[in-house]
């Protein structure tokens, strides 16, 4: 009798835990994305790459390293890759900014670039005007971005 009661109570506890399992945020399907950013066939470092999904999903970002390689992460920095599906690719030349971001309200009226000119056109800086798009498939993606002239 006591044994069956024990089994019953364990079963209750386990089912109680089961109620709370599976409440995780599923979200859109993500797939790993990496590749090389290049301009005129030469790899380009310090380019901030943003993937803007056309359907539901997070924006994914990365900064290209000295070899022009980038590896995307969702813009919360927690999930790897990008949402599966078509994307607009937004590019910023971040080499014009200093190593440290400007601080506080004083940054409002200063030239944060200190007169440096970006190496790529401004039209890539907005998802509306960019001419680059990529499709992320449900596998390991190797997507090279050659910036058109």
């Amino acid at each position: 009798m006591a044994a069956s009661l024990r089994i019953c109570s364990m079963a209750l506890l386990v089912s109680g835990l089961g109620v709370f399992a599976g409440c995780g945020d599923s979200g859109p399907k993500m797939a790993p994305v990496e590749g090389t950013v290049s301009l005129d066939g030469k790899p380009l470092n310090n380019i901030m790459v943003e993937f803007w999904p056309s359907s539901a999903g997070p924006r994914s970002i990365a900064v290209s390293d000295a070899q022009g390689r980038y590896k995307l992460m969702a813009d919360d920095g927690k999930r790897e890759g990008a949402a599966v599906g078509p994307h607009k690719v937004v590019l910023h030349d971040v080499s014009v900014y200093g190593e440290n971001p400007p601080v506080g309200r004083a940054a409002e009226n200063v030239d944060v670039t200190k007169g440096k000119k970006p190496r790529i056109s401004n039209k890539f800086a907005s998802p509306e005007t960019t001419t680059i798009s990529q499709t992320v498939e449900d596998k390991k993606n190797d997507l090279n971005i050659d910036i058109p002239k």
Binding site: S9, I61, T113
Partner: protein
């Protein structure tokens, strides 16, 4: 053995004596004659009956209660959050109605912000060349009379802005400090955490100025706050930069982001209903900002707190309006420190981001006055399109 026999004998004797007593006390001809038998039987039963619960029974009961509470508690918490969300949507509705009443009175929407440090400042008689270099109205100032705060509006020194700030006015009840800390409940979302006041603006100074910060912001199109004074004029590169850009100071353009006057609210400019050619139900008017960002607050390089943005009574762009060029609920990523030069743009993004502490998205007032909850999983391209008043985009389901 002997001892056991002896005990049994004593017990038997006791029984006999007891039965006898009962029989004597209750005569055999009474209706309760066989009661004695019943009584003695009951007495025997009492001996073997368990008193109280066993440990296992107790544990089972506790487990059941635990499961029930576990089921109930999230429901209670979500009911509380639902109530807070409802209060927040009520605030957004009131502010939306206030904007519409403003439009009925003035035939125009409010200024996104009125700021003299710009050639486009529409009141030259009050320009910096004259006596009033800091005259600056935020978006919410203009709505005060329409959200039952007309008394507060009357107190506002409209000619000498500094009287509202830190220079003590002559009459005590007109103390600017009081105004700066003045809390208006309609501007507070109950789900947002923390104090209603910013940190002291300048801890080193004696004035130790703190400001009330709003949780609701106008939508300035795709970008409301351009760090680095980003106001490019139309050029071959960017022919669609609106001519009405308001250069602030001598700043050079930040090539990463351009300030776009493509929303319904803009600095030193008023639009009317007809300007929203995307349709009033496809254009955002107001939204919330989330004051929770552990990375922003902890980053030693930034030396800033997200709750120091949103000084509603001393409003600059970052305190007045947000932009839809940033996904809903964007926070600085956990790998922020590794992102080098991109951090400048990400901080700019954060200060422009709509967001809330409601689960999974944020609430917005559309230009038609309706309040809607938009999920943070919306395509960022669609969300961006919702911010523009005349972008010409086709907005599908969201």
């Amino acid at each position: 053995m002997i001892l056991k026999d002896f005990t049994e004998q004593i017990l038997d004797n006791t029984m006999v004596v007891e039965t006898a007593i009962v029989q004597i006390w209750r005569p055999s001809d009474s209706p309760f004659a066989n009661m004695s038998l019943f009584l003695s039987k009951e007495k025997e039963g009492m001996k073997s009956r368990k008193l109280g619960f066993t440990l296992v029974e107790l544990l089972v009961v506790i487990a059941i209660i635990g499961v029930l509470v576990g089921l109930l508690l999230p429901a209670v918490q979500s009911a509380r959050e639902a109530a807070r969300r409802m209060q927040c949507s009520n605030n957004l509705k009131q502010l939306g109605l206030a904007v519409h009443m403003f439009h009925d009175t003035h035939r125009k929407f409010p200024y996104g912000m009125l700021r003299p440090q710009s050639p486009q400042f529409p009141h030259p008689e009050l320009s910096p060349a004259n006596t009033n270099p800091t005259r600056r109205y935020g978006f919410m100032h203009q709505l005060l009379s329409y959200i039952e705060q007309d008394n507060l509006w009357q107190r506002w020194d409209q000619l000498v802005f500094n009287n509202n700030d830190r220079v003590p006015a002559t009459a005590a009840q007109f103390s600017g400090d009081h105004f700066m800390k003045k809390t208006v409940p309609t501007l507070v979302c109950p789900s947002n955490p923390g104090s209603l006041l910013s940190e002291p603006a300048n801890p080193a100074s004696t004035s130790n100025q703190q400001y009330f910060r709003t949780h609701y912001y106008g939508c300035a199109g795709t970008r409301g706050y351009p760090r680095g004074g980003v106001y490019p004029r139309p050029s071959l590169l960017n022919p669609f930069a609106p001519a009405a850009q308001d250069p602030v100071g001598p700043a050079a353009p930040n090539p990463g982001y351009v300030s776009t006057s493509d929303g319904i609210l803009a600095q030193n400019k008023q639009y009317n209903m007809g300007s929203a050619s995307d349709g009033t139900s496809n254009t955002l008017l107001l939204g919330e900002r989330a004051f929770f960002d552990p990375i922003f607050d902890s980053d030693t390089v930034l030396n800033d707190r997200i709750r120091n943005w949103g000084w509603v009574w001393f409003a600059a762009q970052g305190d007045n309006f947000l932009g839809t060029g940033v996904p809903i609920n964007f926070r600085l990523p956990v790998n922020f420190a590794t992102l080098g030069g991109a951090r400048t743009l990400l901080v700019d993004d954060r200060i422009n981001a709509f967001g809330s502490m409601h689960t999974g998205g944020a609430q917005f007032t559309l230009l038609d006055g309706s309040v809607t909850f938009i999920s943070q999983s919306i395509s960022p391209i669609t969300f961006r399109a919702l911010g523009t008043r005349a972008g010409g985009e086709v907005i599908g389901e969201y």
